[in-house]
């Protein structure tokens, strides 16, 4: 990334299990680091102010909008996107629930929703809040009216975190 005259810093972090090193301005947003050159395109800009959740990533397992995470905050962190979760049981459970209940239409926002749910499932197992709907209030979907998302939560992800009966 060439970004005007700003000095570049060497930033090391973990992305989807791989160690990465980038030379970027300290204030570069993580979303640009990831999307630059089309490396990770599931992280998508919807507002760039942290409102819509379309650029969500997991930072050390916790969901955050990548537009608000700066390069200088990255060293030593573990960043995950849906591209890196293909074997993750929480993600697979979420993925199946979303698909079965038709919880998406255009799908532009969906990876962001999926990561919010994965993060909430993990937090819930550790005694955190149980309300998965609450965990999605930072994500905007303009297509579905959230009907499928509600069904996915109620029928497949909701009450019992240890229930393995996702269809």
């Amino acid at each position: 990334m060439k970004d005007g005259d700003q000095p570049l810093e060497t930033i090391r972090f973990e992305l989807n299990g791989q160690a990465v090193t980038r030379s970027v301005p300290a204030a570069a947003a993580l979303i640009d680091l990831l999307r630059d050159g089309g490396q990770v395109t599931s992280v998508r800009p919807g507002c760039r102010i942290g409102r819509c959740g379309a650029c969500n990533v997991l930072v050390d397992g916790q969901v955050m909008p990548a537009c608000l995470v700066m390069a200088w905050q990255l060293p030593g962190r573990r960043i995950e996107t849906v591209e890196g979760l293909s074997d993750d049981p929480d993600y697979l459970r979420v993925r199946q629930a979303l698909a079965r209940e038709s919880a998406l239409q255009c799908g532009y926002c969906t990876p962001g929703f999926a990561l919010s749910l994965v993060s909430a499932l993990r937090a819930r197992r550790q005694g955190g809040p149980a309300d998965l709907t609450e965990a999605l209030t930072g994500n905007l979907c303009r297509c579905t009216g959230y009907g499928g998302l509600k069904r996915a939560i109620e029928r497949h992800l909701g009450p019992d975190p240890t229930d393995p009966s996702v269809a």
Binding site: G46, R142, G145, Y146, G147, K150
Partner: protein, 757 residues
């Protein structure tokens, strides 16, 4: 037209059909494996474009100085009006919008110049270095008086005026026992698609350009882009990629003209992707409507007269405004009800208030909000149940439409209304709690399919067998999330008996068949009609070829999953058949006009009609005036359901979009300037605002109906607004007529009422 069997009413659930599971593309979307046009960031040699937009709502453009910008690091090209190779104008109905302004800007967001650079940051820096000299002009911001203010274009600011009349409305009003007169206002709603406008223009190496973009009508865009770029149409092609939502907001050209010019200039692919700030400021919106309605009935509640005067603010350029006005007018005549005398007048005006055009509902939902509110007002004045008032005035299934035109319903309006009145939500007596007031409201709406009113409306499709043995179905429609591919796949599987893995749907290629625009809820109707034309003969050819290759009688063969079957045994795979069949033996093409009433010389309105009744339950917070919609129950009559997940999602999604317009969404302007610039101020519903929804389907389509499949992309937004407003009145006694509902105004009105009693 009616049938003897009773109408079937069923509650819709997600149903993946015989295979019992969703298709692969859904998983690809969840996994982030599907590229949207603005994800194409790894194209070799990709440059990033940015557009300089006016920061004035109305001004003379005295000078545009690009000298500094041209010398900035990473900049490859800077273009202005002088660099437009062909016609510096575009617009679907009227070509009145400049690609780059020449001597005048007409809205805050008008394009003035564009830059292509190595990085987005460099492009933005160069844009910031362009010096523009403006001479401000008076801003036309009041739509009601716009036509008497200085004209923004040739002629006056009155872009279109329409009137529909029937009978003598003055005389009829004088004879009414009860008359209600009210004014209604609807907001400048933003489409709010999650993927903002964007895509890539790629030089093809032979002087032409390929656009890989989010759009709704690639073929139509080719015509406009070829004129702008001064290229023969054969040298411009558009790939309408799966885009992150559209809802009408990508119907008009967005970034394509600037990206195309920059790509030709630089010889490199150019990506332009508006950020949300730029999208809010420059993008298309829904027409704000101010409408006065005077409606009267006799003492027993029979509607006699209906007068409508409306002004629609189209903003700086026409786009699809004239067609929106037409659809508004149609809906303002109260098409579900018998009214002998009406006079509907609509004016569409230019102002400096941004840009308005196509948006799901297309003027119709604004009109239905006012019409249904008028009926509630009459019922209230008569002391009559609102359901009873509606039932008294409903058109029968055999009657012509409100403009005297033939219409084709899929169920009798009374059947749909009765189903709505039987809703468990529609129960009288909701006890008021200490803090939350609850109430239920009902509204009814009709909606037509197709471009309507005799506009040219046709399209084609193509069917073939690929060398890999897949049944390829091609249409020109764009996929913006409505899952038309899923519906097409299901239709082909149902008709042929094949599996979904056998079907390959190809959409949105301007080099492929032109199916007409992806708008006006027309795609499903076209798909069904075209498949019905192509499939029978194609299937016969398939069987005949298989018979020749296998020596079995063609009439004993049946297509199934993977190939053709003889008595339940797979005889020959599609792949083998494709390899051995003569080239082009299995290619079918068809075209058709969108269905209009038989024998009509000049079609009026829309022939294929759908209905929706929506019942809303709300809670109103007595402390804050905030409204929560807890439940929505929709009764739809829109033909047969071919693809339940798509149908359900369209109704639910459209309804919540309408909920947003009713309660929170508005892009107000002040002196022509947009007062919201991102999604923290412009409030679209979240999952926390989304009600529980139930969708029931009334299917009373005759067995032999030639149009059993209707398009339902807009239906869910038709009646939701008046249903919510009616529910608010049931809860609070306050009728809201200006949208979105202002919590503070509602609270004040509630407190004023409570003080009185």
């Amino acid at each position: 037209m009616t049938t003897d069997r009773p109408a079937s009413i069923s509650t819709l659930a997600v149903d993946w059909g015989p295979e019992g599971q969703p298709g692969d593309t859904l998983y690809q979307r969840i996994d982030g494996q599907l590229d949207y046009p603005t994800d194409l960031l790894n194209l070799p040699g990709l440059l990033h474009g940015a557009i300089l937009r006016s920061d004035q709502a109305h001004a003379r453009l005295l000078a545009v100085d690009t000298r500094v910008a041209r010398t900035m690091p990473g900049v490859h090209s800077v273009v202005t009006a002088e660099d437009v190779p062909g016609l510096n104008r575009f617009g679907i109905v009227v070509r009145d919008q400049p690609v780059f302004c020449e001597d005048r800007v007409r809205y805050e967001g008008d394009a003035i110049a564009a830059v292509a650079a190595d990085t987005p940051a460099q492009a933005r820096a160069a844009i910031a270095a362009i010096r523009v000299e403006y001479q401000p002009l008076p801003v036309v911001e009041d739509a009601a008086s716009a036509e008497n203010q200085p004209a923004l274009h040739e002629g006056s600011n009155l872009l279109a005026q329409e009137s529909l009349t029937r009978g003598d409305v003055d005389q009829a009003l004088a004879a009414c026992a009860v008359v209600v007169e009210h004014e209604y206002r609807t907001p400048r709603q933003m489409h709010g698609f999650m993927e903002t406008e964007g895509g890539v223009a790629l030089p093809d190496g032979n002087g032409g350009v390929l656009f890989r973009v989010g759009c709704q009508s690639g073929h139509r865009d080719v015509e406009q882009l070829a004129d702008i770029l001064a290229l023969p149409r054969a040298q411009v092609s558009v790939e309408a990629m799966t885009t992150g939502g559209a809802f009408g907001g990508k119907d008009e050209l967005t970034i394509q003209p600037a990206a195309g010019i920059l790509a030709l200039r630089t010889g490199r692919p150019v990506m332009i992707h508006l950020d949300r700030f730029e999208s809010c400021r420059s993008g298309m919106k829904r027409h704000p409507v101010a409408v006065r309605m005077t409606t009267g009935c006799d003492a027993r509640g029979h509607l006699l007269a209906h007068r409508v005067d409306a002004v629609l603010d189209t903003g700086a350029y026409a786009s699809l405004g004239p067609a929106v006005l037409e659809n508004f007018m149609d809906h303002a005549t109260a098409p579900l009800y018998r009214i002998d005398s009406y006079a509907v007048t609509g004016r569409l005006v230019y102002t400096n208030n941004g840009l308005c055009g196509a948006f799901r509902g297309f003027g119709g939902n604004q009109a239905t909000f006012a019409v249904e509110s008028q009926l509630d007002a009459l019922a209230c004045k008569l002391g009559m149940d609102p359901g009873e008032l509606r039932r008294k005035n409903l058109r029968s299934r055999q009657e012509p439409g409100s403009r005297g035109q033939p219409v084709r319903w899929t169920a009798a309006p009374a059947t749909v209304l009765d189903a709505a009145l039987a809703s468990p939500l529609w129960q009288p007596g909701n006890p008021a709690g200490a803090r939350w007031l609850t109430g239920t409201g009902l509204a009814f709406g009709a909606q037509g399919n197709g471009l309507g009113d005799g506009l040219p409306d046709s399209g084609g499709g193509r069917l073939s067998l690929t060398p890999e043995g897949r049944i390829r179905v091609e249409f020109g429609f764009a996929d913006y999330g409505q899952d038309i591919a899923g519906a097409i796949t299901r239709s082909v599987c149902d008709a042929l008996g094949c599996g979904s893995a056998d079907v390959e749907v190809v959409l949105g290629q301007s080099r492929g068949p032109d199916s007409g625009p992806t708008s006006a809820s027309r795609s499903s109707v076209m798909v069904h009609g075209l498949l019905s034309r192509m499939l029978p003969e194609w299937t016969q050819t398939l069987k005949r070829l298989a018979a020749e290759l296998t020596g079995q009688p063609a009439e004993d063969l049946a297509p199934g999953t993977g190939g053709l079957f003889l008595q339940g045994r797979r005889l020959i795979d599609y792949r083998e058949l494709a390899g051995k069949a003569p080239p082009d033996a299995l290619v079918a093409e068809a075209g058709q006009d969108f269905p209009v009433a038989p024998g009509q010389e000049t079609p009026v309105g829309r022939y294929l009609q759908l209905q929706i009744a929506t019942i809303a339950r709300v809670m109103v917070d007595r402390l804050t005036g905030r409204v929560r919609v807890t439940d929505l129950h929709h009764i739809t009559a829109a033909g047969r359901v071919i693809y339940p997940p798509g149908y359900l999602g369209q109704i639910e999604g459209a309804a919540v979009m309408g909920l947003g317009m009713t309660l929170t969404e508005d892009m107000p302007t002040r002196k022509g300037r947009m007062q919201r610039d991102n999604l923290d101020q412009y409030l679209m519903p979240t999952i926390g605002d989304a009600p529980a929804q139930r969708v029931d389907v009334v299917d009373d389509t005759p067995e032999n109906d030639p149009y059993p499949i209707r398009g339902i992309g807009e239906l869910g937004i038709e009646a939701v607004t008046p249903a919510i407003v009616s529910a608010i009145e049931a809860a609070t006694g306050v009728r809201v007529r200006t949208l979105p509902v202002s919590p503070s105004a509602l609270l004040e009105a509630i407190q004023a009422r409570e003080a009185q009693s």
